[in-house]
């Protein structure tokens, strides 16, 4: 065996899982799909005496349509989101973003909650979920609470979850009327690699002009970035002048670092290229549709 021996604890309820996590403190970690955790434990980057198995809790993998959106249980796999008829119809941008993670085997195993709680700055789903205003339900020793996804990511691999607190599900509101959304991923290396960056964009139109623009980015800061300060696009045409202003706003809010997928300068340039592509694509779809 390559992983240091541990005890796999298999609770039957969330309450039991939380009790175990509180009892064992830093010696224990919750495991969802395990695609990341097991690899990091094999590499001995992480070590725990106890893993608390969330797959043994019934009912956490549901995807359900709600009056004002869709709710995805923490243990739903990426593949089930990608193929869900409910999500493909109501929120195609979410299906697209989840379909871009890793390869089909990873998506078959990796969980939605694990993806978000791992808080890798490059993951594909967070930008798409951020532009839609997703909200997390969490449960911990002090009870249940809601955390807007924009307040969830606190730093590289750090989230707002407290010790013993578990991500239970993510609620995604429906798309506003007359809006379209897109997720574009740019891989500087192979297709299955982490993206160099990802751009999610949503445009809402009214009377032939832009009513609202939302942008979120992955891979260009320590956390996914939901761009603030875009209200000036209201009632504008998304022409070159406005585009220059948008790109300037974005450039101020990202802080990419140089790595093997590109230098800081390169990532700033590519961010601009992909924002232009995303907005152009949405604008033409909305004019045609």
């Amino acid at each position: 065996m390559t992983i240091r021996s541990f005890d796999l604890l298999q609770p039957r309820s969330l309450a039991e899982a939380i009790t175990l996590l509180v009892q064992h403190g830093e010696d224990a970690r919750a495991i969802g799909g395990g695609t990341t955790l097991i690899i990091l434990m094999k590499q001995r980057a992480l070590q725990y005496r106890y893993l608390v198995d969330l797959q043994s809790i019934p009912g956490l993998n549901q995807i359900s349509k709600e009056p004002e959106g869709v709710r995805i249980g923490a243990l739903a796999t990426h593949r089930s989101v990608e193929l869900s008829p409910v999500i493909r119809e109501a929120l195609p941008v979410v299906a697209e973003a989840f379909s871009r993670v890793g390869n089909v085997r990873v998506r078959q195993t990796a969980s939605v909650g694990g993806n978000l709680a791992h808080a890798d700055y490059r993951l594909d789903p967070p930008p798409a979920l951020l532009i839609l205003g997703a909200e997390i339900s969490a449960m911990g020793p002090n009870g249940a609470r809601k955390i807007p996804l924009k307040d969830f990511f606190r730093g590289m691999y750090e989230t707002a979850l407290e010790p013993g607190e578990l991500l239970v599900d993510v609620k995604i509101p429906s798309m506003p009327a007359k809006s379209k959304a897109v997720y574009l991923r740019y891989s500087a290396m192979s297709a299955n690699d982490w993206p160099c960056l990802g751009v999610a964009a949503m445009v809402t139109r009214e009377n032939g002009r832009c009513k609202e623009l939302r942008l979120a980015l992955g891979g260009v800061a320590a956390t996914p970035v939901l761009v603030n300060g875009l209200t000036f696009v209201k009632d504008q045409l998304l022409d070159e002048d406005v585009m220059q202003q948008i790109l300037a706003v974005v450039d101020e809010q990202i802080s990419p670092f140089s790595d093997l997928r590109g230098s800081e300068w390169y990532k700033r340039q590519m961010t601009q290229v992909f924002i232009r592509r995303a907005i152009a694509q949405l604008d033409s779809q909305l004019i045609e549709g």
């Binding site: 021996s5 690899i39 893993l51 990873v106």
Partner: protein, 161 residues
């Protein structure tokens, strides 16, 4: 922690004592001697350790064996009856879709899952589905051809039934 588990592998119940930290890959190879399941990258990126879990492809290198009880596990050994090759294996042979063959079991299981899920895939769907299986002899063109041959064979078998 040690525990006794029952694994359903290739239509047979295997009762074995494992450690919670054992991956499915380690159990299949080291305990059940199923040598078609191979380790290469160890991080789920290459597809050499692919098995079918309830008919869907999974990387056995990042699954804990203790969490795979109650699922139907199939390795390449479980595809044929041992006497004759499975038609996907035959397709790989006839199209010379292998050179060193280290990646081949993983590819064949992925192709099986693909054709079960999507009986008439587009070129794009094949490429996307198999993108996570790496062949460093770079036999990709031959492998894509083998998928088409296997697809035709599957269709004619289904027609006969």
């Amino acid at each position: 922690m040690k525990r006794e588990i029952t694994l359903r592998v290739n239509n047979k119940d295997e009762v074995i004592v494992i450690d919670d930290a054992d991956t499915l890959l380690e159990v299949l190879r080291d305990r059940l001697k199923l040598w078609s399941v191979r380790e290469s990258c160890g991080v789920g990126a290459c597809g050499s350790c692919t098995v079918l879990l309830d008919g869907r492809p999974a990387s056995s290198c990042f699954l804990l064996a203790a969490r795979t009880t109650g699922h139907d596990i199939v390795t390449l050994e479980g595809l044929g009856d041992g006497a004759e090759l499975h038609y996907i294996q035959e397709a790989f042979v006839s199209q010379r879709a292998l050179q060193c063959a280290y990646c081949t079991p993983g590819f064949i299981l992925s192709v099986k899952a693909l054709l079960d899920e999507t009986p008439e895939p587009s070129d794009e769907e094949i490429r996307e589905y198999l993108a996570g299986n790496l062949c460093r002899c770079a036999g990709y063109a031959d492998i894509l051809r083998a998928v088409r041959v296997a697809q035709d064979k599957k269709k004619s078998l289904a027609f006969k039934e």
